[in-house]
């Protein structure tokens, strides 16, 4: 068991290195810092001096991989690769292209992101699993049929419309909560309600349908017939036997995203003006701030790998076959 966890952790290292090399290639090799400078400064009026100045301010004026001009260890460390990519491994994100400390931004913006993402995740999982159980319980009836129809229809609506429509109806027409904005403390509730609600509703269609398929697959298995042959009632069969087995495939998809909740939601945060990591990312993309995007790529990958590890661990909680072998 311990060896298993350690092996998974070790396996994460080459993946992180791979991610790092890939982003490095994408950000510095495919397009040179010169290109970036030209883009930031505007293609039209750009002088070589302005480019050099821009690069020097942000530390992009060093060689990519090997600095022949420096001495000793600096030949390797005083390079873009070391400064910008290797340092990510120790969570040294450096400064954004606008000069702000990325690490600090990430720390302060994590809170609002989690304040939206965690309730959304918990509520969403509860609602969709309940709906799916309901449909599975009434399988092959009109309720199930129309439930699936509604799910497919809800899946077919772009999440943009959920947000725009929700904001319009709830905030503009009914004036129930503020359209956007964010505040800490007890006031946060008013601002969080709508984004959480919209995110949950937007996810109902596809998740419910997916969980329903899983439940139906489990219901078709032999052990369910055995349970019924004991004289157990249908709800008992569903909750005691089916649900526990269905949790195994459900966990595969769900646990992996838990660490990624830190990253927040791009769309919701940007629409509702929440100062989280999601809107930070969008702003960085729009401002073409490569330093921030690079840092977010690294954090995202790291969290994903943590998610994979958590998934493996969660199996041991629900599946005795994994736990005891």
């Amino acid at each position: 068991m311990l060896a298993y966890i350690v092996r998974r952790l070790l396996y994460a290292i080459p993946i992180l290195i791979g991610v790092n090399l890939l982003t490095f290639a994408l950000f510095f090799v495919v397009n040179t810092p010169d290109d970036m400078a030209r883009m930031q400064l505007g293609v039209k009026r750009v002088t070589p001096e302005a480019i050099e100045k821009w690069k020097a301010e942000r530390g992009y004026d060093k060689p990519l991989l090997y600095n022949g001009a420096a001495d000793g260890a600096e030949k390797v460390t005083s390079t873009i690769f070391f400064e910008k990519s290797v340092k990510l491994f120790v969570f040294d994100f450096g400064r954004a292209d606008d000069g702000r400390d990325i690490g600090h931004e990430i720390r302060t913006r994590m809170g609002p992101s989690l304040a939206i993402a965690v309730p959304t995740f918990v509520l969403g999982l509860f609602v969709t699993v309940s709906f799916a159980l309901l449909l599975a319980f009434f399988r092959a009836t009109y309720l199930d049929f129309w439930g699936v129809v509604v799910c497919v229809a809800m899946m077919s609506v772009s999440s943009l419309f959920y947000i725009i429509g929700g904001q319009y109806l709830v905030s503009k027409v009914w004036h129930l909560v503020p359209i956007s904005g964010y505040a800490g403390g007890p006031d946060a509730m008013r601002f969080l309600l709508l984004p959480v609600l919209i995110s949950v509703v937007a996810g109902i269609g596809s998740s419910t349908r997916w969980y329903r398929t899983i439940f139906l697959e489990e219901i078709g298995k032999d052990y369910v017939r055995t349970a019924r042959a004991k004289g157990l009632s249908e709800p008992t069969v569903l909750f005691r036997h089916v649900l526990k087995n269905a949790m195994i495939p459900i966990l595969t998809g769900v646990v992996v995203v838990i660490p990624l909740l830190f990253m927040g939601s791009l769309l919701v945060e940007s629409f509702f003006g929440v100062p989280g990591l999601g809107s930070y990312t969008i702003d960085a993309i729009n401002a073409q701030d490569f330093a921030v995007v690079r840092s977010m790529v690294f954090i995202g990958s790291l969290l994903y790998i943590v998610g994979l590890l958590l998934t493996d661990l969660s199996y041991t909680l629900v599946d005795p076959r994994v736990r005891l072998q």
């Binding site: 032999d222 052990y223 349970a227 042959a229 004289g231 157990l232 599946d319 005891l324």
Partner: protein
């Protein structure tokens, strides 16, 4: 008054091909303390009958009519809530596949406790004590500890015992056992059948036993009902049924069984296949395949005719006034068997010291910490025109041995000489050319043909892979020839495998192997997925091909009856090693090794005389990853001596052909 009375039960299943009449007017009854066996081939509706009694049909199924009276109470008239009171308390059921029928994530104790809390007033410690009693009763050692364990920690036989314990927890008056031992090995089957018989006698339960195996019927049942195409065609006392089956279908079932007495002769077969249950029948459902059918059989469905006490048949032959017919099947002419004492030519295949080990990797860096010794020193020889049966239970390594001989799995050690060439040393092109001379026929006719290829392409595949250059027209001519050779017609080559029945598919698989003109055919359980009547067709075909082409067969099987019928020589395998080998007559007639003895005694026999006293083996097959010290068999051996735990016995030559590995003979 009988415990269970089923009256004209009809169960329909809605499918894409229309409504299947899976159970069509079935009536029978079962008394307390009696075992009634429903016998039939796959798809005859026997399992659907059982599920209808429990009202546990699949979503597409529905009961269309009839009555099911349990102690006079009509189960079909109960509400679902009332029916749930009956299930598990009055009526319990065990299923065919113990490995999927238990909930994998709940402990065994919880799954048994569920029945107790549903149907008995027992709770808490009292319930736990009762669960321990139940596990004891079904012969699970160390019950208090095992209650906490999960199904995957039990072996197949033990799981089936847990299923039985669960079924008994509500103290049912009638137990339905749906093919309870089909998924188990012969020695385990013997244990479970004995247990079921004992429990049924001691509790005075009624038992409805569903099976396809005449041997099990003979061992366990008091009365028998034979089902064909959704209907009961014959009901009789066991003795009367075995002495003189009346329905032509029942007669054929007996005649198609491979038996030593039929060695050298062809087996009787039933032509054609079971009709689709979606069809509506004008006459008798068996008429198309019946040797005795006449015009009336095709135009008028036969009604039920009682003959002697308790014996009834659904057949026009027994209608009052029907002309008496010769009801015994015509004996097939015996083809002379090859003389066993011909001068033995040089062996075609010789394997010695063959080992296949799979590494077990564990720990941080997946280091190899052990070996699964799937095949651990197997030596055997085979000459052209002869059949060597490699016999053993599942997990003993017989299939792996077969594949290692063909070099489909590269052996870890040992030598395989084929026609004088050492195969283990060969590679690349030379091995490829030799592959044409040794082919394999697999167990599952549904998995062994590529569903996306036409039959003609399947058969030509080998020719293409091995004998590139043959002209297309020439290949096609040969394909037609091969199809006809295995009893199919040439125009079938344009069709796809799903259009064929299991038996026809197995014929195609044989034709595919023959296409490259092999000298050795490894048959890996080629008939174990087939019904008895179809098995007979395939065995006949294999015998005939051997006689005309001089093929050597390495016949891998667990079915002793087939071995008795077909094999010239027998090698018995246990945990990766051959424990006994010799000519078929020697090994099967006078087994020397205690394992062989136990194996043979566990096979249910039709005739009481042939039945050896049952030797029930203790416990299960150990894991080949961690075999017992000394003789691998000693923990289960009824005749084990202290030294058996220390030394692995060397091979003892009893005579020219006979070898055994046992310290009793050392």
């Amino acid at each position: 008054m009988s415990l269970l009375r089923v009256e004209s039960l009809r169960t329909f299943i809605d499918s894409a091909d229309g409504t299947l009449r899976a159970v069509d007017d079935v009536s029978f009854d079962v008394s307390s303390g009696e075992t009634f066996a429903l016998l039939g081939e796959s798809g005859c509706g026997k399992s659907m009958t059982a599920l209808s009694l429990m009202r546990l049909l699949p979503d597409a199924g529905r009961i269309a009519g009839g009555r099911v009276l349990l102690d006079g109470c009509d189960l079909l008239a109960l509400t679902e809530a009332e029916m749930r009171q009956v299930r598990g308390r009055d009526l319990a059921m065990i299923f065919q596949e113990p490995s999927t029928s238990l909930n994998p994530v709940l402990s065994v104790g919880r799954q048994i406790g569920e029945v107790l809390s549903r149907h008995t007033p027992l709770r808490g410690d009292a319930a736990k004590r009762r669960a321990v009693e139940l596990l004891d009763a079904v012969g699970i050692p160390d019950a208090p500890r095992r209650l906490e364990e999960f199904p995957f920690q039990f072996s197949g036989g033990m799981k089936q015992r847990v299923m039985i314990a669960m079924a008994l927890a509500g103290d049912p008056r009638l137990l339905i056992a749906d093919e309870p031992t089909t998924a188990l090995d012969v020695t385990i089957q013997a244990q479970v059948l004995e247990l079921l018989g004992d429990l049924q006698r001691s509790r005075g339960m009624g038992m409805l036993l569903i099976t396809h195996d005449l041997g099990i019927v003979g061992q366990l049942a008091q009365r028998v009902g034979v089902m064909y195409a959704g209907q009961l065609v014959e009901v009789a006392e066991r003795r009367a049924f075995f002495e003189r089956p009346r329905h032509p279908y029942s007669q054929k079932l007996f005649a198609a069984l491979p038996r030593p007495a039929r060695r050298g002769a062809g087996l009787e077969t039933i032509p054609g296949s079971v009709p689709s249950l979606a069809a509506s029948f004008a006459g008798c459902r068996f008429a198309e395949r019946c040797a005795h059918a006449w015009a009336r059989c095709r135009s008028e469905p036969p009604s039920w005719h009682g003959t002697d006490a308790g014996h009834g048949v659904r057949c026009h032959l027994y209608a009052p006034g029907a002309a008496p017919v010769d009801r015994a099947g015509a004996a097939l002419p015996a083809t002379p068997e090859r003389d066993d004492r011909q001068p033995v030519p040089a062996p075609l295949l010789e394997a010695s010291g063959l080992k296949v080990h799979f590494p077990i990797r564990r720990g941080l860096f997946k280091r190899t910490v052990g070996q699964v010794r799937a095949v651990d020193g197997v030596s055997l020889g085979l000459t052209s025109g002869r059949t060597l049966a490699l016999v053993g239970e599942s997990g003993c390594g017989k299939t792996t041995a077969g594949k290692a001989i063909l070099q489909l799995i590269r052996p870890t050690a040992g030598s395989v000489r084929f026609g004088g060439e050492e195969l283990t040393a060969l590679g690349g092109e030379r091995l490829r050319r030799l592959r044409g001379q040794m082919q394999i026929v697999f167990q599952d006719p549904y998995a062994s043909l590529d569903p996306r290829m036409r039959v003609g392409d399947i058969i030509e595949e080998g020719m293409g892979a091995l004998k590139a250059g043959a002209a297309a027209a020439e290949r096609e001519r040969r394909t037609v020839g091969l199809l006809e050779r295995v009893g199919l017609s040439g125009e079938m080559r344009g069709r796809y495998p799903h259009e064929f029945s299991g038996g026809q598919r197995q014929r195609i698989a044989i034709a595919r192997a023959l296409a490259v003109e092999p000298r050795l055919l490894v048959c890996d359980e080629p008939t174990s997925a087939l019904d008895v009547s179809v098995q007979a067709q395939i065995l006949n075909l294999l015998r005939e091909l051997q006689a005309s082409l001089g093929l050597a067969y390495l016949f891998i099987t667990h079915n002793i009856a087939v071995v008795e019928y077909l094999a010239h020589e027998v090698a018995v395998m246990y945990l990766g090693r051959i424990v006994e080998r010799g000519s078929a007559a020697e090994v099967l007639g006078d087994p020397k090794h205690p394992y062989t003895e136990a194996l043979l005694s566990a096979v249910p026999r039709l005739d009481a005389q042939g039945q050896r006293p049952l030797i029930v083996l203790r416990s299960d097959l150990p894991s080949p990853a961690n075999p017992p010290s000394g003789c691998h068999f000693h923990p289960r051996c009824p005749r084990a001596m202290p030294q058996c735990a220390r030394d692995y016995p060397t091979e003892t030559r009893l005579d020219d052909t006979r070898r055994v590995r046992c310290l009793l003979y050392g």
